[in-house]
């Protein structure tokens, strides 16, 4: 789960990091009055609190030189969707003149199976751009997850991105706080970009954190999911999540249901390989009940992008008869078949499943290639 900028900054501030002075403004509040109350003076930065990537380039960050501009930009931002998302909150912050923009992040290195610090003296660009344009500038340092980030490691990183003296000390203090935030909040990513160098001090102008969804139960203070606000999910993805389906929207017209992430992806790929275009990814997982299958089928019947539906099941823990029962139930409830449906059943209890489907007048394939060809020609 992505955190909002103001949340990530608050976490860092609680760990002793100096952050820009700022105030949150909600829609309907007077941004000028709130900013004045908070002791701010123009120039200030007005920032849409949205979770979409590339917020700045999409016009979500405005520099206001006067109080009039503050009012104007706030009005604008509250009414302009950033990549489809209208912010509910703005963060108004003091504008901080700075000498340089650095990059600092902590992510999990899958191969090393350790956290890795990434830092560069070329902040401001995103990490992909830095990787392309200044790959040699990126410093990498692994951290032993039991021992944590050692002070000397933080100093070495700071030195290698060109800092010295008090700036180096300030950076290494910042990095230590970032690492604490990273571990305490079970983060997959904790990043500041740009991390401004202001005199002999570093100040995070932006901050991002992504918290491991599997660890949200340990962070009840964060636990309200924010599907709608995140900009990560489409309308139908949000609907799917609310009813517990692992669904990803795609651009084609063949609705896909599979069991298991790998097989479901492969089913998408098969459709593509044989000339079709998948409309979605929908994984019913291992050992799905008839009820879940029914929910999934009904969902795709409503999902407008899917003009037809391909259900591809290889029974392992998942039982073919359960799946068949779920499909039959869904179709019975709908009364009739709103969209053509092709089913492939193999593995555990596939025979039984096919029998159930046949009794309901639905044909099921054994061979996935035959099935996928049938879907495409429909």
């Amino acid at each position: 789960m992505k955190l909002f900028e103001y949340e990530a900054k608050k976490i860092l501030a609680d760990k002793g990091v100096k952050i820009p002075r700022g105030v949150l403004v909600a829609k309907g509040e007077d941004p000028v009055a709130k900013a004045k109350e908070a002791g701010l003076e123009p120039p200030v930065v007005v920032k849409a609190q949205v979770l979409v990537a590339g917020r700045g380039k999409a016009g979500g960050i405005k520099m206001a030189k006067t109080w009039e501009e503050v009012a104007k930009y706030a009005e604008e931002l509250f009414n302009k969707p950033i990549k489809g998302i209208v912010p509910k909150l703005l963060l108004i912050e003091e504008a901080i003149p700075h000498e340089a923009e650095l990059y600092a992040a902590i992510v999990i290195d899958r191969s090393a199976r350790k956290p890795v610090i990434l830092a560069s003296q070329y902040g401001g660009m995103d990490i992909e751009e830095i990787s392309k344009e200044k790959p040699e500038s990126i410093i990498r340092q692994h951290v032993d997850p039991f021992v944590g980030l050692k002070g000397y490691q933080a100093r070495l990183i700071g030195k290698r991105i060109g800092l010295k003296g008090k700036a180096l000390a300030s950076f290494s203090k910042f990095l230590t706080a970032l690492y604490e935030a990273f571990t305490e909040y079970d983060a997959e990513l904790a990043e500041s970009n740009p991390l401004a160098l202001v005199g002999e001090e570093v100040i995070p102008l932006d901050a991002r954190m992504i918290v491991d969804d599997n660890a949200l139960y340990r962070h009840p203070e964060l636990a309200k999911e924010r599907f709608e606000e995140s900009g990560e999910y489409t309308e139908w993805e949000i609907k799917a999540r609310k009813i517990g389906l692992a669904f990803v929207e795609l651009d084609g017209d063949v609705g896909i249901i599979g069991n298991g992430a790998g097989l479901t992806m492969t089913t998408m790929d098969l459709v593509y390989e044989y000339g079709g275009k998948p409309a979605n990814f929908l994984d019913i997982g291992g050992g799905a009940s008839a009820e879940l299958v029914k929910t999934a089928v009904s969902f795709l019947m409503e999902y407008p992008k899917a003009k037809k539906v391909f259900i591809n099941i290889f029974g392992g823990i998942t039982r073919g008869d359960e799946v068949a029962r779920g499909i039959v139930k869904a179709l019975q409830e709908l009364g009739q078949l709103p969209k053509p449906i092709v089913i492939r059943l193999a593995g555990t209890k596939a025979e039984e499943g096919r029998k159930i489907l046949e009794e309901a007048g639905i044909e099921a394939y054994t061979d996935p290639i035959e099935a996928v060809k049938r879907v495409i020609e429909l």
Partner: protein, 290 residues
Amino acid sequence: MAVLLDENARVIVQGITGREGSFHTKLMLEYGTKIVAGVTPGKGGMEVHGVPVYDTMKEAVEAHPEANTSIIFVPARFAPDAVYEAVDAGMKLVVVITEHIPVHETMKFVNYAKQKGTIIIGPNCPGIITPGVAKVGIMPGSTFTPGPVGIVSRSGTLTYEIGYALTKAGIGQSTVIGIGGDPIVGLTFTEAMEYFEKDPQTKALVLVGEIGGDMEERAAKMIEEGKFTKPVVAFIAGRTAPPGKRMGHAGAIIMMGTGTYQGKVEALRKAGVKVAETPFQIPSLVKEVL
């Protein structure tokens, strides 16, 4: 011969009294796996399908000192502790079936196990099977048959599908390992490949990858460097998966430009690996290299 799991495996099931644990204990026993004990805190003294249950691994190991392998069906919140308990009890191999374990926890217990010399398979995995010998996992046993081909896979169901296709084509398997779909797993492709390289029964390897991470690229590098010398056939799932979206598995996500289908396929092909366009081409590709 086989890889990691042979007829000497003596297995403890952690979380044996749960729905999943109990169900799969039955299936594993039916497959012939030698399960010597089960552990569920507070349920010591029970029996599950004839297997004695203990409160702690310590007691289980004291009563069954021959135990060397455990399989974990414990819910995500308690699974990391079960791993530490298994490692500290001296298990050589620990299979973690549990899904949804926080990645910071996995990172820690995987490092811990490594230090102590315990091999972890998983988490979020179907386990390991040596066809005809033993199964420590949740895969349908009937799908696999003994033979010369190793399988190592990030995906569960897809592995059954591929195993089934191989079996139908008359090609058996030496050992099949589902390494799990999480970003961090105990046993990676390259680590598994070190074992398959040494196994005389294994004549060829099927590698089943998916988008996200760089395990496939590392496998390719290992092959290129001549550290894995047997023929490899690969399939990568997620050719049509969009970047930035998590495709079911926590680990199946293209992030920061890395982990793409194209990158993986290119790396493997460059290393001389035959990459199948669909899983169903695998049997014929395997036949070519056997």
